[in-house]
Amino acid sequence: MTTTDAPAPTPAPAPAPAETLLDVSGVTMRFGGLTAVNNVSLTVGRGEIIGLIGPNGAGKTTFFNCLTGLYVPTEGTVTYQGTVLPPKPHLVTQAGIARTFQNIRLFANMTVLENVQVGRHSRMHQGLLSAVLRGPGYRRSEQESRDRAMELLEFTGLAGKAEHLARNLPYGEQRKLEIARALASDPGLLLLDEPTAGMNPQETRAAEELVFAIRDRGVSVLVIEHDMRFIFNLCDRTAVLVQGQKIVEGDRETVQNDERVITAYLGAPLEGTAPVTETDQ
């Protein structure tokens, strides 16, 4: 593993307002009469780590699905680097946004290396004919894909298990593999849907390190999480989604001290203690 189990460093100070990478404005998602996401706006700058929290059923994953083209928002627009995102998942990935899933969705019967290579799909252009003819261009591209995948496996600490079947990895490593696979598409923005669900504290800390390392590679991160400590250690800004609406956005103090957040999570304000909920430990 490239990351160590040393105590998590405090998050780097929020960088000066960077160029906006993702701009979500007024996104609303209705399923029939149910409004799952209501007029949510959010921006992610280059090199930022943004958190998205909220109680179960707040619409976080629906919001994610709106960003990644799985759902077409009823209202509002999502622009990435100035262009409106097309409503098709594979085109969103092509544009530069990669994601992981809340419930791990690896290609279980492919090897670890192949999983990451599948992630490279949108950055390669070798078609059927070149696969049959196997010219030098094909071999170069195939070698490059393999090298890049191995590099990402080194990065996530899975290089030693490249030839294992994805299904045989332990849970924590499956999560890492999902991240490596997403990174393989060379995204500018990575969307992580509950990356630490089901992890123990050590694994959670390692995941923190990994997210920082990803940011250091120049990839912005938008992360959904329930683990507050994880979010506040990690994120430059955090947005809180309750019942489909964004009620507050800001740094750690702003969010932690917001009455509405406390009410949403605990039902009533609590004095003296930080509202730390660790639903998954």
């Binding site: 799985l70 594979h90 969705r105 019967n109 192949e114 599948v118 070798q126 696969a131 894909s145 696979r181």
Partner: protein, 645 residues
Amino acid sequence: MTTSTTETTPVIALPGRTAALLTGLGAAATAGSALMPWTWTSEYPGDLTFYGSPAGLQWLALTAGLVTLVLLLATQGVPGLRWAAPRRSSNAVLLAAAGAVAVGWFSVISIATDLGGLAHLEPGGWVLAAGSLLALAGSLGLPLDRRTAVPLRILDRRLFLLVPIAPVVWFATHAVPEDKPVAPVLTALAGGLAIATGGVLLVQLGHAANSWLRLGTVNRPLPAPRALPSWVEVALIVVAFAIGLFAITFGIDTEYGELFTGYLLLAASVVASLGRSGLLPRLRALTVKYQTVTTGAAFAAAASFPFTQTSDQYTSVATNILIFATVALGLNIVVGLAGLLDLGYVAFLGVGAYSAALVSGSPASPIHVQFPFWGAVLTGAVVSMVFGVVIGAPTLRLRGDYLAIVTLGFGEIFRITMLNLNGTTGPKITNGSNGIPRIPDLEILGWNLGKPTTIFGFELGRFSNYYLLMLLVTAVVVLVFARVGNSRIGRAWVAIREDETAAEAMGINGFRLKLLAFALGACLAGLAGTVQAHVSYTVTPDQYTFAEALPPNSAFLLAAVILGGMGTISGPLAGATLLFLIPKKLEFLADYQLLAFGIALIVLMRVRPEGLIPNRRRQLEFHEADADIPAQATGDTVALSKAGA
């Protein structure tokens, strides 16, 4: 299912070396019986009446006896034979002896029932029966790899109610006069109940035997082979393929059903015992090491098949096997790689065949043109591909079961459309049920495939010529499958099969890639179809149905893929060969053919869900609980080694 506790003990305890002696004696007697007459009239097929001159089934008994003997000596550590059993597992001997019993007793029973009585057996037959049984009994006394405990599984008690009910219904059938309307219903019911009861009792017997024998699936680690010079290793591969060619040729050339049944029994037991002894895994490791040599040897062996034949009787069978196998391999792209269940695949073979027939210059074709061979092939493949796209574009938006049903429908639409383009219910293109007859033979660069050719002094008949041409097509399909399967496109297909939503999130255009798989599969089937049209002279709509007793049809194609092993190359080829040969050779099953086929499929899927020649991945998937398989994977090879752990 875990086999953590194992032991090496005999099932029947025998003093000292008695067990080995008995086994050896039995095996020698089995082999020796082949040199004696088994029956005294020449009425039994093959004429088994001579001293010192084995024929038909006797060759099989000889082989079974010798394999048992060699494996026995090898496991006993006799110098010079140890290569035959690198694992030194006596289970291999047991499997071979079981094969000898199967072949021997099948022969004896078959002679007695065919000719009407045990009186038709000569001493040779008795020696065979006793010898093989002795070998089996002796091998049960050898130190076998066994589990320490296997609890006796009892089937659901309600199933045993069948045992008293079946005879009651049987008697009722006889009590009711035949002219009563219920009589045929009762007869059918009694037949069904008899089969069901037999099945229940057999399965229960199997459980009881399993609990008594406790044979483990423990594979001892395979010791590293002695380092050999690479030319020796290559020579070993060539020898192995030569033996393989001989064995398959023997199977195709079997002249009567009894011999083919015996052949299947022997082949199954030899493959199982050599697999257990460690010889086959070693060979497989060699083939992985020398992949190019292996592929070359396989095709050379296949290409030399026509040279072993003196008439066109069996080359026509072989040509049809190749057509069937090639189409199955094309279907494997659609089903095995992309995971799209296509139940109407045979329609693409039909599209290719009809296209080729229409441009073949047949007098019955409304288009009076005769394309050269390459033109016909291109036409067949392209038209088929266009049909693939046209059918795929609307249907591939569906997933799973829905796709299966829609493709089933399209397959039938093709056949019915061809029936109706007959001039009365539609435009006159295909002559309806009469089809397009008198398709002229192909001519490639002045070589007329219809006329016998002489190569190296061997005269090759019409079907041999087509066999060689078809082998070329098969080679193309194998090449395409191997190369595309292991590329960006192939990985994307497998990703779609595994999880389409996740695949889309990885930037894969699911619809486009599924359409590509569909179109490529259709194109390859069309390619085979163009040759098929010329091989069979006539194309008719009823060659392309969903299911019937004879391949190729959509159901058998799918069965060939699943039986052989999804996602592999050799799997569908082997599956198609078996599925073609069995109905062809076992005509004595006649009306029960589909029933037997169904039962065989159920048993196979229960025992070996990953297929005969599984993709290593699928094997891991289905037998995760069996602790020994990963161990075997590390011991044997290579492809998915766990070395990095």
